[in-house]
């Protein structure tokens, strides 16, 4: 039955044909048979065969039981698992007895209890009693591996999943095993906190209760929680997640592995920032500016009256500043009200968005299969779209060349080159699309700064009932009303500058303080975890958000619908209905119900990319100074600021410079250096980067002060 591509083997008497190269664990799964594992996890690189849970009888092979996880299916192989082989059953039972010899069995107070692979496998394959009569091995516990992660070394079964993740996947090398034999334990070097953007994944990888997150510890039992499948709204990747809820509150975020988008990994921002939902300064009621008394909480009825008044008084002289974190449905509803009801077309998007990349659309997982990845644009990928950084690392481990500047010859001669643009000057992807077109790349990505910038843009465009006479509506002078939609827009300095010119300002915001002092009316906003609707991620994939918890205030669609009524514009308060309306215009008419839990990527368009766009900016500034790239750090922004446990992840006051630039100025890593431009200067610690082009400096926004794009290092 075998073919050149497949092999046929027998597992517990069941004949099964699988692709050549399939591991035995997967081959058994195809036959409907479980081979139990702890250490085996294909996403962590080559199998290690450490835990010995998967011992099976395998012929041909030595007479003793074999670690099935380390073997691949071969033609004619006969595998007998614990189901049919007393030898395998005895071996697996022995492994569990050994694991439990020193395991504390504190399941009643363990967070993992009820969703613990060790419990499950012991139930199925393990001994029912203990023969261990000696004092168990004890360790000091819990050890704070970081403010986010607690380690219980007594529960640890040393499967080395966490250390392999740290070494092989995230490549941060921080989590290691120390000591030997029965004294082996997981640790960080010198007990330094595990400070890395992907640290939280080890909690999810841990097959026992050894690594737990400090934010979920003792918060819930598995039988009292519900998981809501949704999508992370913290960056443009749109990792698929499950939001675990208990009694109407989000308690944790888990990955919901989408093999084309996130491969089951999450960054710590996506995993831990859910705490912003319960922020102390969360807005629950509308706020109205009252003369002399500042802000006053008002009823929704009053707020809608005020909003109506603001809209009417502006008489069309309205500008809308969008965050790029609105759902497609919210953005469309807002646009429909303004564009169709008030003829107010002027909008400020957080960033430029282009559809030129649609011709080079590939899933993010295509990066892994590339033979060359060129990362252009000079901003750090991990800070903007963290998971993309993991895909690039995976590509490099598989032998791809990773370039951080454009080598046209190398891209042209590669079979499967992928271009990634991360940084200023990308024109929403038009630049990289033109490059991909010219150099024959297999795929190209532009990393936007916002989670749904593309969807918001499309939705805004879709709501224009007529082609505007002027395709680029300019801002009215003076601005009668500035509508600021969302906290990211409210935090944007350019939007603040507009607000100063505007006669009136209406802000939608989740938190007190963000709009205090400059808004006339503040309406409470919602979080991505409280919304139903859709996001379009950086691949162009339309993904479904599901409401995990009820927001503390009516959601945007609800009040937009009511407000629109007053202007004779019909907006359904249901995301499904709104989406069906937008979809017909912008998304090829896909029905809402088809945007499921594993959304497929729409096919690449065949239209050629937009006409040639200017070349990427040169590294060095024209006048011999250095080019400063300022970026928003991953661990920054309104949500992160409100999570105490994430503060240790905030960027350090450092400036990155290329090794060549450092060498020519005799700067060593860790030196304090002064950067200046036009009379303003900042003093920061130098960090040398191999990924940075000579002539470019990189600094997190919060430390960049008033520095201009061209700077000098004062020596």
């Amino acid at each position: 039955m075998s073919t050149p591509e497949t092999v046929t083997l027998t597992i517990d008497g069941v004949s099964v044909e699988v692709p050549r190269g399939t591991g035995l664990v997967e081959a058994a799964l195809a036959a409907g048979i479980e081979i139990p594992v702890f250490c085996y996890e294909p996403r962590l690189g080559a199998p290690v065969g450490a835990c010995r849970m998967c011992l099976c009888q395998v012929e041909p092979g030595p007479p003793k039981p074999q670690a099935a996880c380390t073997l691949t299916a071969q033609d004619g192989m006969v595998v007998r698992t614990a189901l049919t082989s007393p030898v395998a059953a005895e071996a697996q039972n022995a492994t569990l007895e050994f694991i439990l010899v020193n395991h504390p069995l504190d399941c009643p107070v363990c967070d993992k209890g009820g969703e613990c692979p060790l419990q499950d496998l012991t139930f199925r394959y393990g001994p029912g009693n203990t023969r261990m009569t000696f004092p168990k091995r004890t360790f000091e516990k819990p050890i704070p591996v970081s403010p986010l992660i607690a380690l219980d070394r007594e529960r640890c079964i040393l499967c080395y999943r966490c250390t392999r993740f740290s070494e092989v996947v995230a490549e941060d090398g921080q989590l290691v095993a120390v000591n030997r034999g029965a004294g082996s334990m997981i640790a960080t070097f010198d007990d330094e906190p595990y400070r890395a953007p992907f640290s939280g994944n080890v909690v999810e990888l841990c097959p026992v209760g050894a690594l737990t997150s400090t934010t979920y510890r003792f918060e819930a039992r598995p039988w009292e929680i519900q998981d809501v499948p949704t999508v992370c709204g913290m960056c443009p990747v749109g990792c698929n997640v499950n939001a675990t809820t208990r009694e109407g509150k989000v308690k944790r975020i888990l990955s919901r592995n989408h093999p084309e988008v996130d491969d089951g990994w999450l960054c710590d921002k996506g995993r831990f920032a859910y705490g912003h939902l319960h922020a102390q300064d969360r807005l629950r009621d509308p706020l109205l500016r009252v003369r002399r008394r500042g802000f006053e909480e008002v009823s929704w009825e009053r707020a809608l009256d005020e909003a109506e008044r603001l809209l009417r008084e502006a008489a069309g002289r309205i500008v809308t500043a969008l965050s790029g974190s609105e759902t497609v449905e919210q953005a469309y509803a807002l646009a429909k009200l303004l564009r169709q009801g008030l003829d107010a077309h002027a909008a400020v998007f957080c960033e430029e968005i282009s559809d030129a990349l649609d011709a080079f659309r590939v899933p993010l997982s295509a990066i892994r299969d590339a033979d060359l990845v060129a990362v252009l644009g000079d901003a750090p990928v991990v800070e903007r779209a963290p998971i993309v950084d993991l895909w690039i690392k995976d590509a490099r481990r598989r032998g791809a060349r990773v370039l951080h500047e454009l080598d046209e010859g190398a891209v042209q001669s590669a079979d499967r080159a992928i271009l990634v643009w991360c940084g200023p000057g990308g024109h929403g992807g038009a630049t990289v699309a033109a490059l991909a077109q010219r150099l024959g790349a297999a795929g190209a990505f532009y990393l936007p700064e916002t989670a749904n910038g593309r969807g918001v843009c499309d939705a805004w465009a879709a709501a224009a009932d007529v082609e505007p006479t002027n395709p680029e509506p300019t801002n009215p002078e003076p601005i009668g009303l500035l509508i600021v939609s969302g906290d990211e827009a409210a935090a944007n300095p350019d939007v603040r500058a507009l607000a100063e010119q505007a006669e009136r300002v209406l802000v939608v915001s989740m938190f007190h303080g963000v709009a205090a002092g400059w808004a006339d009316l503040v309406l409470p906003g919602t979080s991505y975890l409280e919304r139903d609707g859709t996001y379009v991620n950086l691949e162009g994939r339309v993904q479904r958000l599901r409401r995990a918890v009820i927001p503390p205030a009516p959601d945007e669609l609800a009040w937009l619908s009511k407000l629109a009524e007053r202007f004779g514009v019909e907006i359904q308060p249901y995301p499904s209905a709104v989406f069906e309306e937008v979809s017909g215009i912008a998304f090829g008419g896909i029905p809402f119900g088809e945007i499921g839990e594993r959304t497929p990527l729409p096919a690449a368009t065949t239209e050629p990319a937009a006409a040639a766009v200017e070349a990427p900016p040169p590294a060095a500034a024209a006048d011999g100074g250095l080019r400063l790239v300022r970026y928003r750090a991953l661990f920054s922004g309104p949500a992160v600021e409100r999570i105490p446990e994430l503060q240790f992840q905030r960027p350090r006051p450092e400036i990155e410079l290329a090794e060549a630039d450092a060498r020519s100025r005799s700067i060593r890593g860790g030196d304090e250096i002064t950067i200046r431009s036009n009379g303003t200067s900042v003093r920061l610690r130098a960090r040398l980067s191999r990924e940075l082009r000579a002539g470019v400096l990189r600094v997190p926004e919060e430390y960049a002060g008033d520095l201009q794009p061209t700077v000098e290092i004062q020596t």
């Binding site: 022995a94 694991i99 095993a177 029965a182």
Partner: protein
Amino acid sequence: MATDSKRIVLAGVDEHDLTKLADYESIGGYSALTKARAMTPQAVTDEVIASELRGRGGAFFPTGRKWSFVPKPDQNPNPHYLVVNADESEPGSFKDNEIMARVPHRFFEGCLIAAHAVESRHIFVYIRGEYTGPYEVLVSALEELETRPDLRGDVTIVVHRGAGAYICGEETALLESLEGKRGQPRTKPPFPAVQGLYASPTVVNNVETLATVPAIIELGGAEYAKLGVPDSRGTRVVSISGHVERPGNYEIENGLSMRELIYGLGGGIPNGRTLKAVIPGGSSTVILRGDEIDVGYDFTSLLKLNTAMGSAGVIALDDRCCMVQLGIRVSEFYEHESCGKCTPCREGTRWMTQILRRLESGEAVQSELDLLLDVCDRINGKCLCPLGETAAIAVASYVDKFRAEFQAHIDEAGCPFGDSSPLHDVPAPVSLHASSPAAAEFV
């Protein structure tokens, strides 16, 4: 020493200071290298296959066949490596110590011949960290060799010191350690010949194996194969320790009787005591009772008694020795040296020690003796590498062969031997076991 039956590896050590290049050359040293380099790599390998040489590290794998598994450079363009396992750490074995300390050039000559055979230009010698004496000897011999490009050719030799882990004598753990990682065994396959050091084709050979190679080239494989007995050709350097009059290293022709080893070369049991037991091939081998020593010291003969030559560490134990205390001693060693990677070894060796200690204390109940055997059985055949398995096999063999003595610990609620059991020098420290004063200086 006059009583040695045959000297190949240690030939000339009493007459010359073979740590000096000139002295070694004066007795024909490095002529085998010249001869080998005039041959094709395949011809050298064929000669070693013809010699029936088997690995002296303990696993007894045919050396020539191991070399023949290495892909040719046109089949695998990665660099080919020759890695020498000089991490001799088996309790009872100290032969490589003496070989490196006394015939470093013969060892290097063997390395260079092997490198020629497997077309490698990179040799790493991974030497046990505690072997400071042999390390110094190797380093100065290498310094002399560096001045002789005619001998060294384009081959680089690096002597790398281990950091004190028994497990790094396991070839894949050794490779991990050499790569700068935590010393833990890898799963096999892939075998080192295909994916070894830095995922490149690698041959890992023991010190004694390589020190034998010049003689094979010199004599011719067929001639060498006339020595010894079937399946165990040639000579073996045997470390004899424990309760014998003359402990030390002795090079013998394979197949010599164990009685001759202990009573002839070793000079018998001191103070008129009787031989109670012998560990024939280092701590990880199945023990023999004192009445089981009329057996040839070779692979096939010992296999009939379910034991092995292993790394050729013969430990004699006299009638005062407590087998439970021996079990604790050995089990503690393996517990201490378990790398912690696989479950049965990490948890099982610790549990074995705990049960043995309770037996020794006299607090054990009957079922615990069966539990000990069951724990051994549950380790054996389930581990990632041989470390845990050999611990289980060795300790189980003590119970098997001396069950009455274990039973007595339970029946008498205590140890019949107590403090009089003289295991403090068994296995003895290496410093007691140099066969000549000259070698003793190095350890």
